[in-house]
Amino acid sequence: MLEYRVEIALWAISGIIPFFMLNIWTNNNLNEAINISNLMLSRYFLCAFLVRQFSVVWVVFSFEEDSLMGKVSPYLIQPINPFFRYFAQHIAEQITRFPFAFIIVFLFFIFNPEIIWIPNFGVLLLATISTFLSFLIQFLIQSIVACLCFWTEKASSVERLLFIPTLFLSGLLAPVVSFPEYVKSWIYLTPFPYLIDFPANLLSGNSTNITRGFFMQILWILLLLPVFKKIWSLGTKKYTAMGS
């Protein structure tokens, strides 16, 4: 993984959209209406950036490429689900991303020293766990989508479709608290706010319902896991090898 340092650095930079959003929010005093101070909002978007960095998933794209190139066949013979391989790749890349993400955080702190805060150990632990759970939810959803490769070959377009609600509803561009009432009434039942909004609120010290957050994260994982197992077993039966 360390072979592609430039790549990973670029990947970290490409996640900076939350900072641009923060700029719009604070520059136009939009936060006054939702009762979050500039300071807390800055922390929120910083945390949203971090959570996104450590929960981003691209298993569909890897799997699609492997499946189109016919690389899946040897994986299937191995006595372990190939998705463990992708899982390990993701974890490895997240670890290599640590230094780059922290450089960006460090730069952010230099330009905005008033934002510096140190969450206590408990908060840090809970936030790490919830970020990991968020990663798991996204990994499961994408793995389910990736299994569609067995039927359509090009599953990445389904992923791009799913990415739209993730982008707008997860809290990456605007905190979920700021959403209008007609959205807030149902959004907490979907997995989206638990992907970024919940871990970011937790880490930044904004108010959030911790029990409900963890409960919903675990609930969604428990719901998605059997779906994945089912679609995997159906898909592998359907599988016809491609390429060489």
Binding site: V6, E7, G15, N29, L30, A33, T152, K154, R160, I164
Partner: protein, 264 residues
């Protein structure tokens, strides 16, 4: 004569790539839904910003929708032409197939930039124009030929700037081999084009007009559309577009000197 030859070649490109894309029909339908959802999503985000404010960076909601429309059109163009072709450059260079392109008796930049087409971006272009038509209605713009021609000039300049940016990034592949992520960086910067430039702080505004001229790409055409733009801004945009196109062309020819094939 040369123009006719290139037109003929291009019609062949269109034919083959449309034929191959239409193989994946469900894909196109999914892409259409994605385009619609994405537009709804960004209008939703915009509506959050305007929930308790009448103006953002001097733009009203109805006016900001124009920027959104222009962004949608340009994004459609990116998805139809730039994205499928210029990601291909990365592949050409990594697998060494750029050799075959260079050997062909045709301009390599032309070949590489226009070979493929992805029809699902068309809907985004249409959606963008529909949104603009709606904007004419709600903003009560009395549209005349003058504004229309200026608008098309600025839009065409935007397309050229956008193309040059993409092409520039893709060209760097010759040195770095894997720039897939670099295009992601560009994508996330371009995302800013959805919002009026004045809604950002001063330093970011400078950054987005000088280094990555997103200001020119969406904000100026929108101002022209509203009939607000000064003439010097339009001239400046034309100048910037010319500058970008010629530099990207030179950069490509320069980069080719460093191309040293791959594998076999």
């Amino acid at each position: 004569m040369r123009v006719r030859k290139y037109l003929k070649v291009y019609s062949k490109f269109l034919h083959t790539s449309l034929a191959s894309e239409l193989e994946y029909k469900t894909n196109i339908i999914i892409d259409l839904i994605t385009a619609i959802l994405s537009l709804i999503g960004s209008i939703f985000l915009l509506s959050i910003f305007f929930q308790n404010n009448n103006r953002i960076g001097g733009w009203e909601f109805e006016q900001a929708l124009i920027i959104q429309g222009i962004y949608t059109i340009l994004n459609g163009i990116t998805n139809t032409w730039f994205n499928p072709n210029l990601t291909e450059i990365v592949k050409h260079i990594r697998e060494g197939t750029l050799d075959f392109v260079l050997l062909k008796p045709i301009d390599s930049q032309f070949f590489i930039s226009l070979k493929k087409i992805n029809p699902s971006g068309f809907l985004e272009i249409i959606l963008g124009f529909c949104l603009l038509l709606y904007c004419i209605k709600i903003n009560q713009i009395n549209f005349n030929l003058n504004i229309l021609s200026l608008f098309f000039i600025t839009i065409i300049c935007s397309i050229f700037i956008l193309y040059s940016l993409w092409f520039f990034i893709s060209t760097t592949t010759i040195w770095f081999v894997k720039t897939w992520n670099a295009t992601e960086v560009l994508r996330s910067f371009l995302y800013i084009g959805r919002f009026p430039l004045n809604s950002f702080s001063f330093s970011l505004r400078i950054f987005f007009s000088v280094f990555i001229p997103i200001a020119f790409i969406t904000t100026i055409p929108s101002e022209v559309f509203l009939g607000l733009s000064q003439l010097w801004k339009i001239f400046l945009e034309i100048l910037v577009a010319l500058l970008f196109v010629s530099t990207s062309r030179k950069f490509w020819l320069f980069a080719l000197k460093f191309y040293s094939s791959a594998s076999s």
